[in-house]
Symmetry: C2
């Protein structure tokens, strides 16, 4: 079995995730998280919230997943959110034409090619239908919109779509959100929730699904004034894979700190660089293997036209990469995107929506500005031009703002309904006025770090996956970090002894009262229970055995998942000892130094 | 303004919730939770998870929100999940016919009436279109399915629906979930997530929306063996509104403990009674006003045919009820349902789906059972009956199981393809066999406590809403419990003094490190900042003023939201003092007893 198959099998057997609705044959692209996976996913979301919402001082909202059509007309998704669809003339199966091209050739990112070019390439590479083998050359390629469509209300009602990203639910509410932020830039709004893409033919299991969870941050900044707190992450080291290196023969990684990346112009947006640094630290903290992690810059063709600079966080999930220095080795998946979107989104909604998508930013002190104005004398214009007088006056006012120099002579000429009209400058009432302004309306720029939660969960499992041999038997385990592991501690009483079960109940209650997530498992032999917890990544296991109650003080054994080393710890010390370990302060060696090591492996008892 | 309007206005102004997409005119039935509302909602979900998942020892999963059509064919939603739609012949607006009847008459629960009856009532009560006033008599009423429909994949693809309840995502995965539960009943699976109902014409703001969040628990039990741990909640007092009282003239509440409700047969399912007790305690804990809370039994007509007993938790949200003893006074909304669903759901999926929806429960000891079997002698039947011999043998085996007495005589007769065939009993090989069975396949029963999260949030705001006068000014506040309040503590430095701002930063950092959720607000005068926090329900506010740094030890003032009383507390005591209060141990009086009361109201400074 490949690593991907092994992980998928483990995920299904142990309750991380599995294809939904299999009793009904299932439908591609939908997965259910079982008890272990849902807990792991929740912990990832909490860790993200802690880092990107709370610690950054941002606010989180929850918008609906369905929105009416005009929102996606404005956002551009209705017109542009398409994949290239080719339908087989023989078997009728639909496929993504760009993916077929990539499989059949050395071409990468075929998505960015124009449709006619892809039609040509299908013929050129003699691409065949992956389902039935019939040739696809000559089949027309259609743009297929990836949004799920539905009707809101009865009858013709209103057309709605499931959101393809959580972001629009933030942009569209900007006029209200800026009020909660008291009209002060910069501020950030986050959202964690479901998003939907009606993929043509989802592949790659949980990596490409039709329904998934995003964690997005929209950072609104004043384009002229706001700088990120770069010093907080200046020394964080980034493994970067710039577009130039991707395009160069044998191009490789550039290792640079955040400040070097900015100073050397590798990352052009300081805000993007800041969040690359924050994200690098966060991924490391939750357990992504930094040797299988990189930031890849979008190639010019990949980039949306409004995105000045865009980087993806990518993880390697095959486990089969042989040369970690070779960026083309291994199976890399996108797990987050960092885009500088300018005012693209807000200006679109300002045009389509009926509200104010700017922020009125107050100057430190009111500013005095000089403005040219015209104040035409209607008592002259009225009698002279009759019904056209108002239009002429408007044209004069307009001209004063646009071209004050036009009022330099004796007369001034304006165009009204295609005719030139000339009036005495004196009648135009031209003058330079001094005005005091308290501030100005600013259309904020947006920096968007956008994370795929499901793919992060998958990466964590792939990177935590390990195999070794314990007591002569092969063992599979997940070395998940304590922060995200579904369970902190498992407690196992030897069965059949009431005193041990009572003690185990007490231990479980104490650990839960200390805020730990505890599994209480009294089924099967101890060795089997260890294996079960190893496979779901529980960092620590506590066993209550006969010695526990026979000795003074009462003790239990504590076992480390990764090394399987065991120590005997007095029950009174347990909460403190485990709490300290799980908070990441020190390793299991600390327990080994302080307590008696248990040499006889309990699995044999 | 009515209380509902006041709350809606407060919710919008302060960022609890507001109608989504208003820049595009909005669309009825969709709401966005702003920063305060999303935090309140998350806290409600966490409190629910703690009580109904963790403390009950249940497991939580996350299923997709879209499922393919066969799932809803099986669940009955495709056929039966309808509302009565009447379209106005004049203006074309659609309305719920049953609601119109209820508005026009004294009839309650018109939903349970048959369509022709409702058509008659529309004419009888001369119901007019609420939009344009045209008479609706004679308009036909249609059954409108409330599921949002969509297409999965390109082309004809597969039809799918947004789930109308989270429950089906649990039922449909039962064959896998029982494995994670190691095939042991009882076990419970929970899920918190979005559900969707394409309401004909949503009214009542956030109380009736088209997209909402449910928290559901499916408790799977062995119908013969499993009893709930009733003793845990035996003495919890319930305010019950049984169907008999609802139907009686002047009927009232029955106050009973959980054990009395079971013993007196008021609640017939012990599991339902158990969860009513758990829910009563939970609602009380998170801040639902128990004087505006009750459990109402479904009337016979409301009940789904499979639901043996069904109760709703209801809250009164108008604040205008005059007589709390009168169940017909006030505006009561359903906030949870508790149903005993038998094996309805699992047996439906067992019939429609291709999997095993039973649990094999092992007997404590293998059981010996006697079974009548036939083992026909084919060496006799074959030559005698030729091609029909196999069918005759099958018929004999079948008869042995059905009617062992038929083998009492010399001969035995079976029907094969319409003919009676008689053979010697000896040839039939009839005998009584003793078999050992290790267990049996059980189709579990389901008890379903199902909570509406949005309505719980609304109830908490409505019940926490208060008005009083402080310093001669009217004040609005939310007395939310510390467990669900969006923010635990607000910290206010007096502005313009760097020393105070530094101290405030330290206080904020200390409180956050202690796990508290802290708002740091330095804009506007102190009085305004107090009002803002009062309106979002922050229990405690800390002010850093000049006296803070002028005295030894360094102190801050702490203000109680509800009483506006203030004390001066040394900074070194702050984390402990506030932490204790927020965990619900003791009231603010404890601080008043231990520290100096501040008499001069800081709002005037």
């Amino acid at each position: 079995m490949s690593d991907a198959q092994t992980i998928t099998e483990l995920a299904k057997r142990r309750g991380f995730f599995f294809r939904a609705n299999e009793s009904y044959g299932g439908v591609a692209g939908f997965y259910t998280f079982g008890p272990e996976g849902a807990a792991l996913k929740r912990n990832v979301e909490s860790a993200w919230r802690d880092r990107f919402t709370v610690r950054e001082g941002n606010d989180e909202i929850e918008a609906p997943t369905i929105a009416p059509e005009p929102v996606f007309e404005a956002s551009g998704h209705l017109d542009g959110f398409d994949d290239m669809l080719v339908e087989c003339g023989e078997c009728g199966e639909s496929h993504r034409a760009d993916h077929l091209i990539e499989d059949a050739s050395d071409i990468e990112e075929a998505e960015s090619l124009p449709v006619p070019k892809v039609e040509t390439l299908v013929a050129e590479y003699e691409v065949a239908c992956p389902t039935c083998g019939a040739p696809l050359a000559g089949r027309s390629i259609e743009e297929f919109n990836l949004m799920f469509e539905t009707g809101i209300g009865p009858g013709s009602g209103q057309r709605g779509y499931l959101r393809p990203e959580t972001a629009q639910g933030i942009f569209v509410e900007f006029p209200r959100l800026k009020q909660y932020a008291r009209n002060k830039l910069p501020f950030g709004i986050t959202q964690i929730g479901r998003a939907y893409r009606n993929e043509i033919s989802p592949r790659k299991g949980i990596v490409r699904t039709r329904e998934f969870t995003q964690a997005e941050l929209e950072q609104f900044v004043d384009p002229d004034d706001d700088d990120p707190p770069l010093s907080r992450v200046a020394d964080v080291s980034l493994r970067l894979y710039p577009a130039t290196e991707q395009e160069a023969e044998g191009g490789g990684y550039v290792e640079a700190t955040v400040s070097e990346a900015v100073d050397d112009g590798i990352v052009t947006s300081e805000w993007v660089a800041y969040y690359l640094g924050v994200a690098r630290e966060w991924y490391d903290r939750i357990g992504v293997d930094m040797d299988r992690f990189r930031f890849r810059q979008h190639l010019p063709g990949e980039r949306a036209h409004y995105a000045a600079d865009c980087w993806d966080a990518e993880s390697e999930v095959s486990g089969a990469a042989e040369n970690p220095e070779d960026p083309t080795d291994g199976d890399w998946i996108e797990i987050a995107g960092f885009a500088s979107r300018g005012d693209y989104d807000l200006s679109k909604h300002a045009t389509h929506g009926d509200d104010d998508f700017t922020v009125f930013t107050q100057y430190d002190e009111p500013r005095t500005v000089e403005r040219a104005v015209a104040d035409p004398d209607m008592s002259v214009l009225g009698p002279e031009f009759g019904g056209r007088a108002d239009d002429i006056a408007d044209a004069l006012r307009d001209l004063a703002g646009r071209d004050p120099g036009a009022f330099g002579g004796e007369t001034v000429t304006v165009g009204v309904d295609g005719d030139d009209v000339t009036v005495d400058t004196e009648v135009a009432g031209f003058r330079i006025e001094t005005q005091t302004e308290a501030g100005e309306h600013v259309m904020p720029y947006v920096i968007e770090p956008s994370f795929g939660v499901d793919r992060t969960v998958y990466t964590l499992i792939a990177h935590a996956f390990g195999r070794d041999e314990v007591d002569g038997e092969e063992r599979t385990y997940l070395s998940l970090s304590a922060e995200v592991a579904p369970t902190d501690v498992a407690v196992f009483p030897l069965v059949g002894d009431a005193a041990l079960e009572t003690l185990a109940d007490e231990v479980v209650a104490d650990l839960r009262a200390a805020g730990l997530s505890v599994a209480h498992d009294d089924s099967g032999n101890i060795g089997r229970r260890y294996r079960r917890q190893d496979e779901v990544g529980t960092p620590l296991s506590v066993t209550v055995d006969h010695e526990s109650v026979e000795t003074e003080p009462t003790t239990v054994t504590v076992r480390d998942r990764d090394t399987t080393a065991q120590v005997r710890v007095p029950v009174d010390d347990l909460v403190t000892a485990l709490g300290t370990l799980l908070e990441g302060e020190g390793s299991f060696d600390r327990l080994l130094a302080n307590y008696d090591r248990v040499d006889t492996d309990v699995t044999r008892s």
